[in-house]
Subunit: 469 residues, 2 copies
């Protein structure tokens, strides 16, 4: 017991906040965190921003009119709050739209039964009037080659649920999403004419969840749609009773010629090292279901609010803190790649990037996409202050899809980790609406990002590189 | 860096789980936690239990017909799951009911404006037809004596909001609830004829939130009611414009003669030390608003489910693990006191008690009502395993109101700590319904309680007493 106590004391000393390092005119992180909390929870703007986004651009896939509205709104936010160096960087982006028709019907004696469905993102359409075929239910990609004879000429129904025993619903999602992403090509290679996929959710309703699917070059492109969970269960039961029943699938989805989209940038210039950037990222595009309130409207509201807070408090920043509203994460992560390879990056050094793209739920921690010594350093420098906000951990893990390409430029990527239990209830579906977002939870995430950005923007120069320690 | 690493390694050794201590037939806590997680998240019953409770006894204040229905259901659950030594311990309890009338109206030119209101728990009623008086708005109890002249003959309107800058909403609640609990007597002592209190919530709707108020002996009993937030804001604005306006308050609330209620007990007998008890507690009574889904239906579903899980997995338990469904926490904590002083306690030793009464949201940690060395010991023995469930901390703090009286019997009290951001949106109001509870969040709390109860029931004998270490 005594040994443990001494260890705890020693440990707490090594983990002490960096007040001693604060230079003239600089404010210790703990004090900054308390100021951000006070300002943010009394006069926070995150929920108001998200409300605007959901009202003005509820459907905002890259390349669509809604996408362009969102880009304009993002720029307007930055101008409203007096961000510096506001600009929009254009790049070509794919342009997919689902169109007006998405229909799945079960042929039954005396009529047909409609199932709750929506096209998967990137799917081709069907002929007008749809295609009808018998259905084979499988639990995963591996079954396709084993049952190749049965697949030919049929619609393949991927019905493996997310694993409820995963505490992190992202792990459960990761364990099921291969069916959605690759199911169509794997099935088509063996002669399937279409694909239905159980929605990636554990919420027991009948709302279908879309999301990207990818065609491989070695298989025909067949249409692919999601089923709501109740519809998936109904189809499964119907197939048990009547293995030969027919399903009709009709989709008007189509890929259009590429168009131009923009990433929207704004910042507060660093006072000492303006070319060293601490980036706050999110993606402004969203699937055309609900209003993308959590995915990733929440992230956009948070990063804009985080920079607004830093500016409103007039906090000194050695490095530049930049917000990037990426356009296109959902249909291929094109925005993140375009940002990283833009010419403007050549004269800049991205030291850290922090992304919010896991929903606007109560923030619990941060994950750092780096080796443990770097994670350790950040933990010791920041976690004691972040605990004021209820942030309990900083550990190794992913940063985010949009900032991913910055890693090749030497950037240390960090992801905000909110609670995940409710995220896949809404993700990519008509459930992802403003009412599913809690104002305080959203705002706390913005405050946490601002506090961490402050610490990283003021980290003593040189310490960002682990080899210099 | 190097010193830190060595410290971390040493620390992790002292925190290692207790596999080495496991005796024959016993299962290490980490393995038990994984089994509980697997069983709990696949076949969990917590949400089904809560659904039953909300359907059969939505309003269940102690002493009311709903309260008796809840007591019967609690017993039925225990019989259904084969708990041992099922019994109900009777005690006298106060019996308050709000009756059919609760009305607040603002007199205005050309008519009156109704405000959203409900009686505070324990309030007396008004004369039939209500009482009308001018209103004085104050921000806290301290203002009353300063403005005694203005208080006399008026209705006092306590309008201090919960502090939004508190990350824990329980702290924000604690900072505002004195107005609700003591406002009536403090105001009546200076001649107030009634009291209105801004609801203890930060949700910007107009749902009034009830909760206990207490009359002191040195002041007349005046009626007291809560206002929804929008109504409170409306009244405040109206008073600014028209300081002399009248409000009519009518309540049919009344205290009835005391009746009998019961605490409901069931357990799995300890194999080695059956008289040493690890108690899992909650309160079965709830305010007559919504269905008390979070407060504290969630806790009741969790503790019953936790013991069901321990039984279903057939885990060896040295000590007895007992569920107690306390009846009456809300109107005075009478159930907790009655349990602690019951004759049956004399032949038992309560070693640990774990309560769930902070809502059924995602579980984040546990607080232990003990000195730091004891908290340390529990942390080292259990936290590494609990982290599998997303439990991130075990620290000093409250256990719970129902188990509070056990502390005097030498019991170490522990409280489950779920996320608090949404709790006071629903607490004591018509918002506290089943739909506000997330099945996975609820179930994870039950699993966490089961895992901790397992560890505490099997803690090597003697180690429960800190002085023996």
């Amino acid at each position: 017991m005594r040994t443990f106590t001494i260890l705890m004391i020693l440990l707490s000393l090594t983990m002490a906040p960096t007040a001693a390092e604060a230079r003239e005119g600089e404010v210790p992180m703990e004090e900054v965190t308390r100021r951000l909390l006070s300002e943010g929870m009394q006069s926070g703007q995150a929920m108001a921003l998200l409300t605007e986004l959901c009202a003005q651009a509820p459907h905002r896939l890259a390349g669509t009119p809604g996408g362009r509205s969102a880009e304009a709104l993002g720029r307007a936010w930055m101008e409203r709050f007096g961000f510096q160096e506001i600009r929009q960087e254009p790049f070509p982006v794919r342009h997919w739209e689902r169109g007006p028709v998405e229909r799945v019907e079960l042929s039954a004696v005396g009529g047909s039964v409609p199932l709750a469905t929506c096209a998967l993102g990137g799917s081709v359409g069907t002929p007008a009037g749809g295609l009808s075929a018998p259905v084979i239910e499988v639990q995963g990609l591996g079954e396709i080659s084993e049952r190749a004879d049965e697949v030919k000429g049929r619609i393949v129904f991927f019905n493996r649920p997310m694993d409820p025993t995963q505490v992190s619903t992202f792990h459960a999602y990761g364990g099921a999403a291969d069916q959605r992403v690759h199911g169509a090509s794997v099935a088509a290679k063996h002669g399937a004419v279409g694909v239905l996929v159980r929605s990636m959710t554990m919420k027991e309703d009948d709302t279908p969840h879309t999301g990207i699917m990818i065609y491989r070059d070695d298989a025909p492109k067949v249409p692919a749609a999601a089923l709501g969970l109740r519809s998936a269960d109904l189809l499964s039961k119907a197939l048990t009773d009547h293995p030969d029943l027919q399903v009709t699938l009709e989709l008007s989805a189509a890929e259009h010629p590429p168009v131009e989209a923009v990433n929207t940038l704004g910042q507060i210039n660093g006072a000492e090292r303006p070319d060293e950037v601490v980036l706050l990222g999110c993606h402004l595009d969203a699937w055309d279901k609900g209003c993308g309130a959590h995915d990733d409207g929440a992230g956009c509201a948070q990063v804009v609010e985080a920079l607004r807070l830093l500016g409103a408090l007039g906090l000194p920043l050695r490095r530049t803190v930049r917000v990037v509203l990426y356009m296109d994460e959902e249909t291929g992560g094109i925005g993140g790649k375009a940002y990283a390879r833009a010419d403007a990056r050549k004269s800049e050094s991205h030291v850290y990037a922090i992304e919010s793209d896991r929903g606007g739920f109560v923030p619990l921690g941060f994950t750092v996409n780096a080796e443990e010594p770097i994670v350790d350093r950040l933990r010791r420098r920041t976690l004691a202050s972040l605990e004021i906000l209820g942030i309990r951990f900083m550990e190794r893990g992913g940063g985010g899809a949009d900032i991913g390409p910055l890693k090749a430029l030497g950037c240390t990527n960090v992801g905000l980790v909110p609670d995940s239990q409710r995220y896949f209830d809404v993700h990519h579906s008509d459930n992802d609406v403003l009412e599913a977002v809690h104002p305080r939870e959203l705002q706390l995430g913005a405050v946490a990002m601002a506090a961490l950005a402050y610490a990283l923007a003021n980290e003593p120069c040189g310490s960002a590189s682990p080899e210099m320690r």
